[in-house]
Amino acid sequence: MSDAPLLVIENLHVSVEGKEIIKGISLQVNRGEVHALMGPNGSGKSTLSNALGGHPRYQVTGGRILFQGEDLVAMKADERARQGLFLAFQYPQAIPGVTVLHFLRMAMKAVRGAETPSPKQMRQAIKEKLALLEMDEAFLQRYVNDGFSGGEKKRCEILQMAVLQPRLAVLDETDSGLDIDALRVVANGVNRLMGPTMGVLLITHYQRLLNYIQPHVVHVLMDGRIVRSGGKELALELEAKGYEGSDTEATASGKRG
């Protein structure tokens, strides 16, 4: 394993269809850390997660992203996944006719390469993760995200994360559309999977997920910039005061990043 930090974002600028959305973000996530990135709608949260995942429509126009010391921007989405990056989608896509089991197996094979476990071991591993997420085995025979409820989609994302065992997980609004029970299950899953070698970047609009997953650092994103960073108490403050206050405060105290 590389000694380089897990994720380093330096003065990142991202445009979508010629419009700059991320306007200079710097951020470092170390192994064993959970970072929460909070912000109102339109602040650039999803743009950042898509840029990290390697979506072809999201153009990095400045700055750089180093993942375990490697230039992430030069890699295609599938290479990033094979390097140990995982993106839990806000809107997971349906793949009609492809079962969850088949998809998990193919993804495992793609990500693990030569270290792919035997089909039997794979099945065993998948079963364990299902139990962890309080999911029924019948789930494996359903078609990926096809006709899933919002909660099922999010659980399916966390199941994939559990099976693929990434180095860095970016969770894009994983809490949206979840009722409180599903939120608890998903959060427990993330907590159980989190270890000293893994990092998590939680992207969320609301504070409530942070009641279940304790972040080490909280960042506030406004209009494509990180306007504040702090400990978990920052999230509570945002909950009480809203984002409006932090913008003013940021302007007053100067942007940090």
Binding site: D78, A81, V111
Partner: protein
């Protein structure tokens, strides 16, 4: 003596090899009355069949070419350049050792003897115009199940053949049914006696080897009351730079309470015209299922049909088509509800790639008096690039009010978001596309015996990999 396979034009198509052409008899190019007479006399047929053929030849000459599907491709068929009959061997083999070496070699490469050993109840293998190998499991034969090449069926069971032959699809039905009726040779004849269930599939395999060959097999399947049978056919041909013609007629008769499933994996090389008429009649409480997969050929025109003649009859037609460069799959289905309380379900899935064309062409007909009929039609098309094309031509002729007809059609493309999602799980772009395509065909694939499902997925993989260049 076997020749090594020649260089293949289309590298993606692994069945494009051919053996040196050897035959014991071959007609000249072109179709004449003499050719028809010669075929009939060589087969030592009864007089009624000779007359049947000659009358059909007249119909062929009188009938116009279809004015739909793909008139450009149809008008390019050179009927004078085709060989209408080629007898490859003196006699039919009952064991593979009795089959001439080159021919056995071909079927070995196609995996037929192996499949037969593993999971089939009976096999007929047709090479050019004749069935060269035929087998049926002894226990089935003992129960009275008849599974023969069509020519042997006519010889050994003339009374059954005469009763049904040409009744489901009369020679005058269309130009290509007339052509087949005039020059037919080979195909399968199956009769399953009352109450007998044939639990494992019977298979026929059709192979064209010669250049500019016309293959005109004729299949007739009769499932007597309460009987059931699953028949599977596969087909391939060498890749040549000039065209061949395959024009089959398939007639199914499902008597009261019978169940026939007819599965096709059509994988002709891309220089074969595949113009086939397939039709079934289903009597009281009978079920007919067409499971029809079209991957190969230059132009396919095929619309498996079911006539629902008595109450309780049910039709299921499930078809998939994959069209690549220079291909047009004009496929579909027809259901004709003659009786009340009959049901039908049509599911059509097509994929077009590299400028290929697919069309769904369907007919739902409900006659006056056929009340309480249920029909569902679903057509899904997937376009893999901008150059490809898909069209839907559904026709509904409903003469009754008390019927329930559902029709749904979709056209989709592989979305950028869908690909990104899959790639973010480590899948390479082309593997993700292949997975989407396989998923799209899943409704079809899961109806196939496992071995065929695996084969179909592999064929799709080859088609998809072909685009990498």
């Amino acid at each position: 003596m076997a020749t090594p396979p020649k260089v293949e034009i289309n590298q993606d198509y692994q069945y494009g090899f051919h053996e040196e052409e050897k035959y014991v008899f071959k007609t000249g190019r072109g179709l004449t009355r003499e050719v028809v007479e010669k075929i009939s006399s060589m087969k030592q047929e009864p007089e009624w069949m000779r007359l049947f053929r000659l009358k059909a030849l007249d119909h062929f000459h009188q009938k116009p070419m279809p004015t739909w599907a793909n008139t450009e491709m149809l008008s390019a068929i050179d009927f004078d350049n085709i060989y209408y009959y080629l007898k490859p061997a003196e006699q039919q083999g009952k064991t593979w050792d009795e089959v001439p070496k080159e021919i056995k070699n071909t079927f070995d490469r196609l995996g037929i003897p192996e499949a037969e050993r593993k999971f089939l109840a009976g096999v007929t293998a047709q090479y050019e115009s004749e069935v060269v190998y035929h087998s049926i499991r002894e226990d089935l034969a003992k129960q009275g199940v008849i599974f023969l090449g069509m020519d042997d069926g006519l010889k050994q069971h003339p009374e059954i053949v005469r009763k049904y032959f040409g009744t489901v699809i009369p020679p005058a039905d269309n130009k290509f049914a007339a052509l087949n009726s005039a020059v037919w040779s080979g195909g399968s004849f199956i009769y399953v006696p009352k109450g007998v269930a044939v639990a494992i599939p019977l298979q026929a395999y059709f192979r064209i080897n010669a250049e500019n060959m016309g293959q005109f097999e004729r299949t007739l399947i009769i499932a007597d009351e309460g009987a059931s049978v699953h028949y599977i056919e596969g087909c391939t041909a060498p890749t040549y730079s000039s065209d061949s013609l395959h024009s089959a007629v398939v007639e199914l008769v499902a008597l009261k309470g019978a169940h026939i499933r007819y599965t096709t994996i059509q994988n002709w090389s891309k220089n074969v015209y595949n113009l086939v008429t397939k039709r079934a009649v289903a009597y009281q409480d009978a079920i007919v299922e067409w499971v029809d997969g079209n991957l190969g050929s230059k132009l396919t025109m095929k619309y498996p049909s079911v006539y629902l003649m008595e109450p309780g009859a049910r039709a299921e037609i499930l078809s998939v088509a994959f069209s690549g460069k220079d291909q047009h799959q004009d496929a579909g289905a027809k259901v004709v509800h003659v009786a009340p309380h009959t049901t039908s379900a049509i599911t059509s899935k097509s994929i077009s790639k590299d400028g290929g064309r697919t069309s769904y062409r369907g007919l739902v007909k409900v006659y006056k008096g056929a009340t309480d009929v249920k029909v569902s039609v679903r057509c899904d098309a997937l376009l893999l690039d901008e150059a490809s094309r898909s069209d839907t031509y559904p026709t509904m002729e409903v003469e009754e009010d008390r019927v329930q007809v559902e029709h749904e059609a979709t056209v989709s493309k592989i979305g950028e978001e869908q690909l990104f999602y899959m790639q973010s799980r480590g899948l390479k772009e082309n593997d993700a596309r292949t997975m989407i395509v396989n998923g799209f065909f899943e409704a079809f694939t899961k109806e196939l015996p496992l071995e065929y499902a695996v084969e179909l997925n592999r064929l799709i993989q080859l088609e998809m990999d072909g685009s990498l260049g």
